[in-house]
């Protein structure tokens, strides 16, 4: 498989690992006094554990798993609202696959589907649009979820729906953006981060400059990274070299995909369709200023919040308590490791997730659970 296998070459990986160890030693990183590197994106968390990189890198490097898993940061209230929308007569509710299992206060979308709601798993918002065309007598609602990786495709779909004049298609917009929660984390006095591995696919859309504040205002290095093992190792090395040399810059390891200024077509679609919400609730992180997107008034006909008076379109904001004993918020802010949560693997498993971090394969807890992160492996030598 070209353009993938090259970035998984074991010989190069060994060279990078040795170089990482050398620079980590130069910095004086030890297990007792580790360098804390946050990988922001859930895709990176997943890759680190899938390839066992956490066990291979120098023991003085500690990965902190960031908030970049859209399913994981979704408040339970949003899931409840999805279920309510899906329960309305005549509605076809469309969602990406990994939102299906996220627990709401009463049920997940998967359970709602079993109870008879017409819920379809789609791979693109355009699939939902096609359903709307083919079912003019049904109301098709697409659950718009995700960071800048998925916001453009939802925006383009809304533009297309407007061009066609569809009256039975809306988006329940829960799109969010990456930079604001990073700022919130950096402002948290408990946070001890030394550098970041930045999200590659988000940056493909927005470019690398939205992260300038991390280097400029907070003095932390950030390297935008690809998702293959060699990408991650090289990015970790680049972060370490910046730390060693006393630099704090935004660097682009993933230059084969990420243009410095992003994708102008996507950015134009985003700016045409959405505007920033004053604030948006993140599971585990609370309300964060200007971190969510809402659909502009000119596209109100395609906004499920406006049409159904739900979500931020409701008169009273819905508030839902996190389940008892769920430590997702502490894991999400890097205060504890997943295995330090008393519920981990006990009351909270991928089969019966208590918290969202156990649901998506990109969630830190699910990655720990599935790939044995933090647990002893009795590997044959």
């Amino acid at each position: 498989m070209r353009y993938v296998q090259e970035f998984r070459d074991p010989t190069t990986a060994k060279v990078l690992l040795a170089e990482i160890a050398r620079v980590a030693d130069q910095i004086g990183a030890t297990p007792e006094k580790p360098v804390h590197i946050m990988e922001i994106c859930g895709g990176h968390t997943h890759a680190i554990f899938r390839y066992g990189l956490d066990r291979l890198t120098h023991p003085g490097i500690e990965f902190i798993h960031g908030p970049g898993c859209p399913v994981c940061v979704l408040p339970m209230a949003r899931v409840d609202e999805c279920v309510e929308l899906a329960q309305q007569p005549g509605v076809i509710f469309c969602t990406f696959g990994d939102a299906m299992r996220v627990p709401g206060t009463k049920k997940s979308l998967m359970q709602a589907k079993a109870d008879g709601c017409d819920i379809r798993m789609v791979y693109s918002p355009l699939d939902a649009l096609e359903l709307a065309r083919r079912n003019p007598n049904r109301e098709v609602i697409f659950f718009g979820l995700g960071f800048e990786t998925t916001t453009p495709s939802t925006a383009l779909t809304i533009q297309q729906a407007a061009r066609e004049g569809l009256t039975n298609f809306t988006v329940f917009c829960n799109h969010i953006t990456v930079p604001p929660p990073i700022k919130a984390l950096l402002d948290d006095p408990h946070m001890v981060l030394d550098g970041f591995v930045g999200p590659g696919h988000v940056s493909m859309v927005i470019g690398i400059h939205p992260y300038d504040f991390i280097a400029r205002d907070y003095g932390k290095p950030i390297v935008v990274a690809g998702f293959e093992p060699l990408d991650l190792l090289q990015s970790v090395l680049m972060v370490l070299i910046q730390i060693r040399d006393g630099r704090a810059e935004v660097e682009n390891q993933y230059s084969r995909i990420v243009p410095e200024h992003g994708n102008p077509v996507s950015i134009a679609a985003i700016e045409d369709v959405y505007e920033k919400r004053p604030s948006f609730a993140w599971r585990g992180l609370g309300e964060i200023d200007e971190s969510g997107l809402q659909i502009q008034a000119k596209y109100a006909a395609f906004d499920a919040e406006a049409k159904f008076g739900i979500g931020y379109g409701a008169e009273v904001a819905r508030e839902v308590e996190e389940p008892d004993g769920c430590a997702c918020s502490q894991v999400m802010t890097g205060r504890i490791k997943p295995i330090a949560c008393p519920q981990f693997g006990q009351c909270c498993t991928p089969e019966m997730p208590l918290g969202a971090l156990m649901v998506s394969s990109e969630g830190a807890c699910a990655a720990y659970y599935q790939y044995g992160g933090g647990r002893p492996l009795e590997a044959a030598e």
């Binding site: 498989m1 899938r50 390839y51 291979l56 791979y123 699939d127 093992p229 998506s360 647990r375 044959a380």
Partner: protein, 352 residues
């Protein structure tokens, strides 16, 4: 008592319907016409009684045991590159018998048919079933049909039950696996799962992938002839190789370690998995098995498997070892290790 072969059947009009209707499930003439025209004319059971009456010399050997297994088959789409639901229904049950060391002999086949299903489709499915059964050396000796209203089934569901004979002295089971035994698979993994994903057509993925669906009875006989001390085998269907190995690790009380580098995967399957965020270790197969043999018998087993078309891609993927009982680990390309756990629910494609 009359000789059944000499009984003249009354002349029957050809079935003129193009689609199955509720009338075909009503127990009357329409049902009889459907059953005879579509099913029994092809399967040719010995007699039209409500039971099959079976004899086999293999059973007369002292110490021989009967093996029996049952499986239901539902798949969308019912016809896909490399097979259809009928082929799955024969191969799946034949393979369940084969990996247990049994020689498959007889099958039953029960059909739940959705109103409106095309009769031509049923004929195609029945034809593949007959061809696969002949290839595997099994006979379809009894069956049943039910017709349900539109929406109560998805075209056709099939349940097959298989009976086979295990010769005296043969006892394949995961408890017999010993540390150091090697795990061998018979070919590339995940073709069926990836092919079905692409064939559903809701992902705009086009690929030349063909399902690996195949009967493994002959292959398993070849393995057992080459490796008299073969310990245990499993067919890697739903849940893929990862699930089979987890079951075997648990039953054996041993740990199993596989090598990422050794896993046989096609580029198309890797690519499909990359795009959708799936793990090929969990993709379904319908013509793949994993067998544990003592290391000393590994080479002869590989040679015997590779001599057959369904074992062409045979290779060693890992081995059993002392360790945490039931734990399956994978040594990654970089020498790292990770747990290969059982699948939870179904694999769901990731958002981004």
């Amino acid at each position: 008592m009359k000789d059944t072969a000499s009984v003249q059947k009354p002349a029957r009009k050809p079935l003129r319907d193009t689609c199955v209707t509720i009338a075909h499930g009503g127990g009357g003439k329409a049902m009889r016409d459907l059953i005879e025209s579509v099913f029994t004319d092809v399967f040719q059971p010995d007699a039209m009684e409500d039971q099959a009456r079976l004899t086999s010399e293999a059973l007369a050997t002292p110490g021989a045991r009967l093996a029996m297994t049952t499986d239901s088959f539902v798949v969308t789409p019912v016809e896909f590159p490399g097979g259809d639901i009928g082929k799955l229904a024969i191969c799946g049950t034949v393979n369940d018998l084969a990996v247990g060391g049994a020689s498959p002999l007889w099958l039953s086949a029960a059909f739940i048919i959705e109103e409106g299903t095309e009769i031509a489709l049923l004929r195609r499915i029945v034809a593949t079933m007959k061809a696969e059964a002949d290839k595997a050396g099994v006979r379809i000796v009894t069956g049943d049909t039910k017709v349900v209203g539109r929406g109560s089934a998805d075209q056709v569901f099939i349940t097959t039950t298989g009976v086979g004979v295990i010769p005296p002295g043969r006892d394949l089971r995961a408890e017999h696996i010993r540390p150091g035994d090697v795990a061998i698979v018979n070919g590339v993994l995940g073709d069926h799962g990836a092919c079905i994903l692409a064939a559903r057509g809701d992902m705009a993925l086009s690929s030349a992938l063909v399902s690996d669906c195949a009967g493994l009875g002959h292959l398993m006989q070849a393995v057992l002839a080459a490796a008299p001390n073969a310990r245990a085998a499993r067919d890697c269907t739903r849940g893929g190789l990862a699930s089979s190995l987890n079951e075997m690790a648990e039953a054996s009380g041993l740990a199993i370690e596989i090598e990422e580098e050794a896993l046989p995967l096609r580029d198309e399957v890797r690519g499909t998995c990359e795009i959708l965020g799936l793990d090929p270790l969990y993709l379904a197969n319908e013509g793949r098995l994993v067998v544990f043999v003592p290391e000393a018998e590994a080479e002869v087993t590989l040679a015997a498997m590779r001599a057959l078309p369904e074992g062409e891609g045979a290779c060693i993927v890992g081995r059993a070892r002392e360790g945490r009982p039931g734990q399956v680990t994978m040594r990654t390309l970089y020498g790292g290790a990770r747990i290969v756990d059982m699948l939870v629910g179904e694999q769901l494609p990731r958002i981004c």
